[in-house]
Symmetry: C2
Subunit: 144 residues, 2 copies
């Protein structure tokens, strides 16, 4: 395929459509914010409340309430910070780690199932675009 045939607008439209539809498939047993917070803790380790609130773009009182619910569910624990007694460090319990990983696995498998219904040519094209998809995800992370 020649360079002139690329169409970023069409690609953007396809990815946007894919995103909107994917949202609807996410499990609703927990809020998006809670699930994303658990994922952040799994990827980056213990974080303070204010930090988590900033990452999820919610207010600090919202994150305080959210963490309280997750703690009551046994998915996270609150630790004190010896070097700064104002701080509450939130960290995943084993149950929390298991939950977030199972949820991610289920999300990945949902896509895998759909991919299995594509033609061989389409799957090969996606595989060839894998570095691009991974790069896009990385750019999205940096974009706040």
């Amino acid at each position: 395929m020649s360079r002139e045939d690329t169409d970023p607008a069409a690609i953007g439209a396809a990815l946007y459509g894919l995103t909107l539809r994917a949202v609807r498939r996410l499990p609703r047993e927990m809020s998006l914010t809670s699930a994303a917070t658990l994922a952040t803790l799994d990827l980056t380790g213990p974080r303070r409340i204010t930090d988590l609130a900033a990452v999820q773009a919610v207010t600090q009182p919202a994150m305080t309430a959210l963490v309280r619910v997750l703690e009551e569910s046994g998915l996270v624990e609150r630790w004190g910070d010896a070097s700064d007694k104002r701080v509450t460090l939130v960290c995943l319990t084993e149950a929390g780690t298991a939950y977030v990983r199972a949820r991610r696995e289920a999300g990945v498998q949902a896509f895998e199932r759909l991919i299995g219904e594509l033609t061989a040519d389409e799957i090969e094209a996606l595989a060839a675009a894998l570095p691009a998809l991974q790069h896009l995800a990385e750019l999205e992370s940096q974009d706040q």
Copy 2:
């Protein structure tokens, strides 16, 4: 690329990561359910309340409340159905149509901006995978 090099699990993981991050970027001035309802009305024309509730997988009272808010905002209108006086048909106003299209455009452009930061090779690979991405979106729609 040979067929044996394809890895559905890696593709699924990349797409899951991409869509999850994209969800966080969506505007929050309106609930996801409201925005998706407007998009449905734009794509398929006027629908009845129960119908919209089923499409969005919320209860009928939730959709009734949501439509009331959208109506007060001037984004939709309620029409009676002459052939069945129980039915309320919900349809987009001009303002509603403009809103949903502007929102979609903004979502597409957010992806375009990221795509613009990829290498030429990556963009070409994505363009080659465009039919696959569109097919995936279609499969996602059918999947309830």
